[in-house]
Subunit: 278 residues, 2 copies
């Protein structure tokens, strides 16, 4: 089991009902070696304390989620977003992960200008990229499913994410490849190849696509194997593009959150092995 | 008002609380000259009777919605879908519209093969295209938003729709351009130009993008002007591509359906003039 799980990383959000000590203990018991963390629970626990906790448990922190929200027009709001992202970089460095996932942000209130919002992301990264590099952290722009384009993330495809990332060195800015957001896109395999050729696949995440979507479409990400996504096919694309790193399972799912967290962790690891292992 | 409304077409679904005679009467009173019809209410009323009703009211039927659902693997299911689509072509011809909108269908139960499903659509159109042409009807593949890719329509972008349509003459198969489904896509303007150059923009529909999306994500299409879509920008793209035909407003919206249908019709016409008129 341990070998089959060596690339598996449990994203903290998948089992958010577990406290950080519960999560690290459960990982140790289950032979899980990698975790993706979220800023809010880490800050609640204390960043230094969290870093020590995962280090003592022998866990690798594969990513920190999330920075971003860089589409503001208002100068004060923009400055606050940049400052918050610098803190996120600091936290990632403290936790010992080299990857900060970025959710870019939606349209400012009243705006219909997607192009302008995407340009402001690039402008912001020109300030954040060097700061991140100085701290040994890479920024990973995550294209979110187009159903989030207005309110969460104006970057909807890998092609758009790479168009932005390519303004910067790969050691500063790359992309997050998450099956949930791109599985429908027949151009995504070629974009994965493009990202890989440039060394810009900074993390690879799995979630399955199930319907009907819940109100607000946030918390309906399916357990691996329950939906329409062929995980092995997408794993094949990133591997063909040269990616050999950890694979995170990140599920936002009210039904999973209502269950025992250790049980969900064990199920998720087993589903990973079944659908994406080897 | 009449001149500003000359290209406006009210899709029947937007005011589905109105019976067909109520709709035609309300259009006549409001100076609305065009309607897009749906098969189910037309069949309930009687296809010949509906054709006479709209003809006597002086209305042009801009489209019939909808054929499609052509992704079945099971031979019997496939044969039934093809037969149903031939009936839809017959009904379109009887109603005097030259355009049948196609919603292609989702993944068959248990399948994860998007590519295969898209290929089966092309296979089916090889049978339906000539039949439609014989009856003076063009098939208009509608790419649906990627959030419908698994359960309603595996064709998610204009590029995918055109890749399929281009197997056939434009007089047989083209596309539906609907802002609701493509507004997030930065490659869509170029694809509209590609469609226009080939004479494949068979209909142009408007709906606005508003959030939060409702459970099931079907009935939350926003009234024109209420959301993130710049209607005049998209109208500009189709016009630059040579499209000068009617513009349908097609809203699926529980809140609009709960209101008085004549009031919604008047509001929709006014919003069209404000955001897409002239």
């Amino acid at each position: 089991m341990t070998d089959l799980l060596s690339r598996f990383s449990i994203n903290q959000m998948t089992v958010k009902q577990l406290s950080l000590p519960e999560l690290t203990a459960a990982c140790a018991e289950s032979g899980i070696r990698n975790v993706g963390l979220w800023r809010e629970p880490v800050r609640s626990y204390g960043v230094e304390a969290a870093a020590k906790l995962v280090r003592d448990a022998g866990l690798t922190v594969t990513t920190l989620c999330r920075g971003g929200f860089l589409t503001a027009i208002d100068p004060g709001e923009r400055a606050r977003a940049l400052e918050d992202n610098r803190r996120a970089v600091d936290e990632a460095a403290t936790l010992g992960t080299d990857t900060l996932v970025l959710v870019s942000g939606g349209l400012p209130a009243g705006s219909r200008d997607l192009r302008g919002a995407r340009e402001r992301i690039a402008d912001a990264l020109a300030e954040l990229g060097p700061y991140a590099e100085e701290h040994g952290v890479r920024l990973a722009i995550e294209p979110l499913h187009p159903m989030y384009a207005s309110d969460r993330c104006v970057v909807s495809t890998l092609a758009q994410a790479l168009d932005i990332a390519e303004h910067f060195p790969a050691r500063q800015v790359g992309v997050t490849v998450d099956t949930y957001h791109i599985w429908w896109d027949d151009t995504a395999p070629a974009q994965i190849a493009r990202a890989g050729a440039d060394g810009r696949i900074h993390t690879f995440q799995l979630a399955d696509w199930t319907t009907p979507l819940p109100e607000g479409v946030l918390n309906g990400r399916g357990q691996i194997g329950d939906g329409a996504v062929d995980m092995r096919e997408w794993k094949g694309y990133v591997e063909a593009a040269g990616y050999t790193g950890p694979i995170e399972v990140e599920l936002f799912n009210d039904a999973l959150w209502a269950r025992d967290g250790r049980e969900v962790l064990a199920e998720t690891a087993a589903r990973f092995v079944e659908h994406a292992g080897g």
